[in-house]
Amino acid sequence: MTSELTLLVLRLGFLLLLWLFVFAIVYALRSDLFGQRVRKLQPTDAVATAPPAGNGHSSPPKPSAAAPVFASPAPAGPVSASAAAVAEPVLTPAFGRDVASAQTAHRLVITSGAKAGAEFPLGRDEITIGRSSDSAIVIRDDYTSTHHARLMLWNDQWMLQDLDSTNGTFLDGARVTVPTPVPLNATVKIGSTTFELRR
């Protein structure tokens, strides 16, 4: 009923299918196997690679719009990400500081409070902060609400959102009311605990 040739094709197809399944899994967990993608941060690199990226491909927007705003080290690869950050309607902090993006910020450091000095690496997962034990950072003091605030990545950029907390979340002394981009090394204050996102 089935010819030799069909069986041969089916046999090779099955092996291919098995390997496709293996590689699908490997692809899905590539960041776990090989670590986060490392991006070059040298400014010379950014200059060298940015123009061909803008001219050669039609899809990424011109980096020239992004470059003046973020004068210092612009990430080489994610030109579109930093351009999107500029296009974001929410108020960008006017400190001239780098915004903490997935590429620039690597750790969260507690700067004051009971756990001052503690730090942990930032991944790509969002970080919830509050008194409840299902938060990523649990802060148990008199000022913290159950679900107080959260840090999440929007367009590869860390945003701070207050979750309607009673005593407020402060970014460099100003109360956060709408989701706000967090600059690198800016002080975020929740209750009596402060922390910063650092390189």
Partner: protein
């Protein structure tokens, strides 16, 4: 009105909280599961086309029932383990399915149908195993519950191991007394479940006692040697595994238990001296056993001198081992194709020698795909242990993953003549109900661990 504005602000932020955890892991798992079930169905169809020349739907319907159960587990995890690892379930499903296809292929060669068919029994056992896994993941909501039952787990392991020695209950198959059975059927290998209980016991015991094990002792040859009184547990476990060799005549299981203990001891204390001490003890014991015990001695000669015609033809000789190697050679790089080889020439091709059978019909390429799946499964287990924040969870994750890894090494190494052949089952693949149940429970525990690990706070600030 302030009250109104407050409530409206709350309703505005509530949806944000509800979608706080997107089920991206579960969606990825669903995609992979669909692919996994497709692979399993295709494997069975290919076996039928290769061996029968036409498609017969009975087994495919049974397999579809199994797929439904797996999807049931997936749905259960959407509710009770949303953040669990998305790769473990699909990998276990594919391995289990390929195993069923291969067992079915051997049934076709033997002409077994209906209840005599090992594949049908394997499907029934798989169903029970998956149900057991679902129960574990629903009942155990936090792995730290197990920490409370450390010593209970130790006693359960001991009791399970002693069960086959109880007269009337124990069954002896091929010389190894590791089965229990009621009546003629429903045989079970309690040692498979015991390995999980042992992993829980070792993890709990080492978390409680590791400081005294790692900190004190005199330096000797540049290594810190443990004190005599701390050697106690090591010697007990060693004596225990030697007893398994002598009384149950099961070399592989003894190696598995002892290896598990050594690795968990090493992970807990970071002292190489323990591992060196342990393995020299085990090697010494095994050497003595190989000289004094007939069956251990036979295994060694079969391994070292397999192609000697005298040993090949001897009863209990290397016939099976050599047939398996011939099968692998017949498969070559791409295999003979499912249903088109002669794996049935090797004795017990559906359980101990399923790797040789698969190697013959899928070839080196297919066998390596299967090894890659094992590698990914074990790597996920280590990764879960690595990411854990409580010591018990770390140790348990590493221990469970290592049990699967060591079992793969012992079986596959034995079949390919890297180490002496010992009777253990290939996880998820081989025909054998107890092994399936145990390995699915291991998978469920790893899933539970990965879920709690991801849900743990990364930092707790207490005033």
């Amino acid at each position: 009105m302030p009250a109104v504005s407050r409530s409206s602000a709350q309703t505005a932020s509530n949806p944000v909280r509800r979608i706080r955890i997107p089920q991206k892991f579960r969606n990825l798992e669903l995609l992979l599961l669909i692919a996994a079930c497709a692979i399993n169905a295709i494997a069975i169809v290919l076996v039928q086309l290769g061996a029968l020349g036409h498609i017969d739907t009975t087994l495919i319907v049974l397999g579809a029932g199994l797929s439904l159960l797996v999807f049931g587990m997936h749905v259960a995890m959407r509710f009770v383990a949303r953040d669990a690892d998305p790769f473990i379930l699909p990998i276990a499903t594919v391995l289990n399915g390929i195993g069923i296809a291969m067992i079915y292929r051997i049934d076709l060669a033997y002409g077994d149908v209906g209840w005599a068919s090992a594949a049908v029994r394997q499907i029934v056992w798989s169903a029970m195993a998956i149900i057991a896994a679902i129960v574990v993941i629903i009942v155990i909501r936090n792995h730290r519950v197990l920490f409370r039952y450390t010593y209970v787990a130790g006693f359960i392991a001991l009791a399970l191991l002693l069960l086959p020695l109880v007269p009337g209950l124990g069954r002896e198959v091929n010389g190894a007394r590791v089965w229990i059975g009621i009546g003629e059927f429903a045989t079970f290998q309690p040692g498979e479940i015991a390995k999980i209980a042992l992993a829980v016991f070792f993890a709990g015991y080492l978390v409680r006692n590791r400081d005294s094990l790692s900190m004190v002792g005199t330096k000797f040859l540049g290594m810190r040697m443990p004190r005599m009184r701390d050697l106690g547990p090591l010697l007990v476990v060693w004596a225990f595994s030697m007893a398994v060799i002598v009384f149950q005549r099961d070399l592989g299981t003894a190696l598995l238990y002892f290896g598990l203990f050594m690795v968990m001891l090493y992970v807990a204390t970071g002292r190489l001296s323990w591992v060196l001490l342990g393995f020299s003890l085990f090697l010494g014991g095994a050497l003595v056993a190989s000289q004094t015990l007939d069956y251990v001695n036979g295994r060694f000669t079969n391994w070292l001198d397999a192609f000697n015609p005298a040993i090949y033809d001897a009863p209990g000789g290397s016939y099976q081992l050599v047939q398996g190697i011939f099968g692998l050679a017949n498969g070559g790089l791409l295999g003979t194709g499912l249903g088109q080889g002669r794996p049935d020439l090797t004795p017990v091709p559906q359980s101990d020698y399923i790797i040789a059978s698969l190697g013959e019909e899928l070839g080196l390429a297919g066998l390596f795909a299967i090894f890659a799946l094992y590698l990914l499964f074990i790597a996920r287990g280590f990764r879960i242990g690595f990411a854990g924040q409580d010591d018990f969870g770390k140790l348990l994750g590493v221990g469970l993953a290592f049990v699967v890894a060591l079992q793969c090494f012992i079986v596959i190494g034995g079949v390919t003549r890297v180490i002496p052949l010992t009777g253990l089952t290939t996880p998820f693949l081989a025909a054998g109900g107890s092994s399936l149940v145990a390995n699915w429970i291991v998978a469920a525990l790893l899933l539970r661990l990965s879920d709690t690990v991801r849900n743990q706070p990364r930092l707790v600030v207490n005033e």
